[in-house]
């Protein structure tokens, strides 16, 4: 154990929530904002969500088409690498299973891409089987731009930088390629329960 910080008592997470808070995280009731540049404001008329890369026929949905697809209302805990965890967040979005339905690909990885140039990489398996959504509502309201609206990726089992804000699509890839924060020293995978914050964790 590291040396004691004498006089530090800290604020323990409530016993009922403790097993929901990964190591090194604290529970917040706010919704902090973190992003590397200005918030993009893409008009919905020109917005699309694309699946491209290792796929015979790239797929694309307009805003109207995407939001007309069957959607899920999901209640999940989210964990930011900057140490905050927010419990029981409520989202609505389209499951990646729905978007990937019928897609035949040899790809094992994806690179999500966003307005503003942001990217993040994930194993394809991590966005399948009910683990990821393209979310466009938060707390029953349209997702605000500073939180990634009109739509962001929602991959709650990984640190939240993997849940790309302002997402515009995914590129299916045979090889893994680091995304934006992954190139700047953050962990390539980002499992909060293993505290994979930075490269080498």
């Amino acid at each position: 154990m590291p040396p004691i910080s004498h006089g530090f008592h800290g604020r323990r997470t409530d016993a009922g929530e403790r097993d929901r808070v990964p190591p090194g995280q604290y529970v917040t009731h706010d919704f902090p904002v973190l992003s590397a540049g200005p918030t993009p404001h893409t008009p919905l008329e020109s917005w699309t969500f694309q699946i491209r890369g290792e796929i015979d026929q790239p797929k694309s949905w307009t805003w109207e088409e995407l939001t007309a697809l069957p959607s899920d209302r999901v209640t999940v805990d989210i964990h930011c690498v900057t140490k905050w965890t927010k419990l029981d967040t409520v989202w609505r979005g389209v499951s990646l299973d729905t978007l990937l339905d019928g897609v035949d690909t040899s790809a094992e990885y994806v690179l999500a891409f966003s307005d503003g140039g942001y990217t993040t990489n994930l194993p394809l398996a991590d966005i399948r089987d009910g683990k990821a959504w393209v979310a466009y509502e938060f707390g029953e309201e349209p997702l605000e731009p500073e939180h990634g609206g009109p739509a962001r990726l929602l991959v709650p089992h990984l640190y939240f930088w993997k849940s790309a804000k302002w997402v515009r699509g995914i590129e299916l890839r045979a090889n893994d390629e680091p995304g934006f924060w992954e190139m700047y020293g953050y962990n390539n995978y980002g499992d909060p329960w293993k505290e994979q914050r930075y490269a080498g964790d």
């Binding site: 590291p2 910080s5 530090f8 800290g10 902090p32 590397a36 540049g37």
Partner: protein, 225 residues
């Protein structure tokens, strides 16, 4: 574990910790560290703090603003003394940094304690004897809230106060002040904005509106939305 060499009051609410981390490999101006505290029963809490010092400075400096109901900051500002040890990890973050090879001209825009990493950039710029133009626009509530005031006034700094009338600029950092203070758009200025979320959103939106390229604006935000 870094040894606390000194604790310096900056304002009524902020203190600087001057630290000597062993085997520190150096950092880039703008990066941060993670601080981890451990209670006697093993409970731990971690927070990130921007580095206030330049890579060339003797000590690694963190400037901590005391958050009244905070879990970590009151310990750092009130309970740490020279000679104590502090667990650090870092440096962290490779995007919100400036080094001479990134060029400029550079505009730094700070809201409140968002000035901390930007002060590291200014100190690095001076230590590196860079001739790239650099200017700071710094918004604070009152004169009493200004961090590093004397030092910052030795740089090309424009201060605006939001809660006090004084001889200088008053009011929020908006389009007018940015147009007045920013480098010509033709020079493709590189802009760093750091502060609370609302401040950064407002400044970044205004910069885009007056024609700055979004990919030349780097932001760092803290605090709740």
């Amino acid at each position: 574990m870094a040894r606390v060499a000194d604790v310096v009051s900056e304002t009524a609410r902020a203190k600087s910790l001057l630290l000597d981390p062993p085997d520190w490999a150096g950092h880039l101006a703008g990066q941060h560290v993670d601080v981890r505290l451990t209670a006697d029963d093993g409970y731990q809490a971690q927070r990130s703090y921007s580095i206030a010092s330049a890579p060339e400075d003797e000590h690694l400096q963190l400037t901590i603003e005391r958050i009244e109901d905070g879990e970590v900051s009151p310990y750092l500002t009130d309970d740490l003394h020279p000679g104590d040890e502090l667990e650090l990890r870092g440096p962290i973050g490779g995007y919100f940094v400036w080094r001479e090879s990134l060029g400029g001209p550079v505009l730094l825009v700070a809201g409140g304690s968002g000035v901390v990493p930007l002060r590291a950039i200014l100190r690095h710029h001076r230590a590196a004897k860079s001739d790239i133009p650099v200017r700071l626009v710094y918004s604070a509530r009152t004169q009493a809230d200004l961090l590093y005031r004397e030092e910052l006034e030795s740089f090309d700094t424009v201060i605006t106060l939001t809660r006090e009338e004084w001889s200088g600029h008053t009011g929020r950092v908006g389009r007018d002040l940015l147009e007045e203070a920013a480098w010509p758009l033709a020079d493709h200025p590189l802009v760093y904005v750091c502060g609370p979320t609302g401040f950064v959103e407002g400044v970044a939106d205004a910069l885009v509106a007056i024609g700055h390229a979004a990919n030349r604006i780097r932001t760092e935000r803290f605090g709740p939305a």
